[in-house]
């Protein structure tokens, strides 16, 4: 995990801050950090792809169109494979500077500063065509003549003083050529601007038409979807009503069944009660008869006992009378 926590060319803390907050302050901090990172990268010879482009985007977002254009041009020159992407970025962010490949440079840096900066970049990166094309990219013929291999070899052969002199000469030559061509470039730019405006208008008209068509399509689609939704809703409501009716019917049927069951059970209960009452009556009558019989039996027994006792008494009386009569005779 060699580079964990170190990101080449990306001030990650400021970037995360900007991504989370999207404020002007965070953007400003990000731009400052990018500037420092680029300076450090140039010094350490570790310029990574995308650094200039990101810095350019931050500057453009802050409203500094000149420096932004300069940085985007620098990216294109340092990494030629980025040209289509950066051109698209320029078109998005600074469309008014599309044809300008040197914007803002002369306003911000004087020639001596430019030469010294270019020299430092040159000695660290050994990309002479890139730097010189930043100085004057309108001189494309010169740029195409110089291939990176040629320039690198030439630089390796020259001493530092010779390199500086060579660069100053080239800068002066470029400046002279630029002054001489300024009128023709201005005219060309004007023509470009007019053509661009025309193209923009055409594009805008086409866009408007496309938008209108898309809007109409969207409306149609929306209406169709709404109708489908309504239809689906009606269908659902119908389904729901049908189900509710079925439920009601089932409920009524169940209630009737329950009533019938209840009546049947009540009748059974009544019948059982009547049967029980009759049984109880029979039992009661039977018991009464038994009681009467027992009473009669007891009365008969008592009568018998009474008769027996009376007979015994009579017998005893007669025996006594007999004894008395015997005594008298004696």
């Amino acid at each position: 995990m060699g580079c964990a926590g170190e990101y080449p060319g990306i001030p990650s803390a400021e970037m995360l801050d900007y991504q989370n907050h999207h404020t002007y302050g965070s953007l400003h901090r990000l731009a400052t950090a990018y500037g420092k990172a680029i300076n450090a990268a140039i010094k350490a010879d570790t310029l990574h792809p995308g650094m200039y482009a990101d810095y350019g985007v931050t500057l453009a977002l802050m409203g500094h169109q000149g420096p932004a254009c300069r940085m985007l041009n620098a990216e294109m020159n340092a990494f030629p494979e980025s040209r289509p992407m950066v051109t698209r970025l320029k078109k998005q962010l600074i469309p008014e500077m599309m044809g300008d490949t040197l914007c803002g440079l002369r306003d911000t840096v004087n020639l001596d500063q430019l030469a010294s900066w270019a020299y430092d970049s040159l000695t660290s990166l050994m990309t002479l065509p890139n730097v010189v094309s930043v100085i004057d990219s309108s001189d494309t013929a010169w740029l195409h003549r110089q291939t990176p291999t040629d320039s690198t070899e030439r630089i390796l052969r020259l001493t530092a003083t010779q390199k500086r002199e060579l660069l100053e000469q080239e800068v002066l030559e470029a400046e002279r050529q630029k002054k001489a061509r300024i009128d023709s470039i201005a005219a060309a730019k004007e023509a470009q601007i007019i053509a661009r405006e025309k193209a923009k208008k055409e594009q805008a008209t086409a866009r408007e038409e496309a938008k209108a068509k898309q809007a109409a399509d969207r409306e149609q689609e929306r209406a169709r979807k709404a109708a489908e939704r309504e239809e689906a809703k009606a269908k659902q409501a119908e389904e729901r009503a049908k189900k509710a009716a079925e439920r009601e019917e089932a409920k009524a049927k169940q209630a009737a069944e329950r009533e019938q069951e209840r009546a049947r059970k009540a009748a059974e209960r009544e019948e059982a009660k009547a049967q029980q009452a009759a049984e109880r009556e029979q039992e009661r009558a039977k018991k009464a008869v038994e009681r009467e019989e027992a009473k009669a039996r007891q009365a008969a027994e008592r009568e018998q006992e009474r008769a027996m006792k009376a007979a015994e008494r009579e017998k005893a009386k007669s025996a006594k009378a007999t004894e008395e009569e015997g005594g008298e005779e004696q």
Partner: protein, 254 residues
Amino acid sequence: MKKRLHLLVILATIALAWGCKGEKKLVQYNDLYRERPAVIYIVPIEDKAEHRAQREVDDSLYNLSLNAATQHLYMTASAPLVYKGYYVLGPLATAQLAATETRTLKQLRNESINDYYSDLGIDAVLFIKVTKWENTFNSWSVDIDYTLRAAEHGTEIMHTFVHATKSVRTDFRGNPLPLKEDLAFAEKYGCDIETAQRCRLVEIVNEYILSDLPSGKRSRGTVIEPHAKTHPEYFSLCINPDGSIMLIDPPTEL
């Protein structure tokens, strides 16, 4: 003597490369070697773990932490590719380009992206999709899906799905105990420890996956690189508290 030492080092490197577990890079990245892209464009992260917003809707800190980690994942994706010698535009410029894209990420993933090649000179487009975030008692987990598509033909030239887990030491209350690196990260980025740990997790995963790609045109690359072993297409990795990485193959949770 020096020559012998050089020879020994080369032999040891070759032996290590052959001895490691996994498939050869030449086989795993066959399409990538054939296409040889120079410019890679990273589309904004597709965060499919959005359901957390509904589940943890009140836990704004948790959601912020995950969002920050996703942003960090996006930012740190370009660094390993740059080191491998590819041209990658910075995150801000990429986001600016992506702002004008009318197609959805799903459409970009499935439909033709030839316009990226013809209009912007991009050779390959990298799609990164976060599928799931998970936190258990003492670990943070994330599922990330990396897909690289050739812009010219629309073919998929690299696809890796990783289930990464970072083990975290916790105190007796269950709060995560930060490492020194986590503390340094949190201090530098001005975030809390949990966010720092999640950010470091995605950063390490990015580094591990993207550093493994074959070298780009800007890098010189070694002769033995295509024969070096690499990780499988679907795998799990675990980052231990001491920072070491343990590859779990085959993945248990996929």
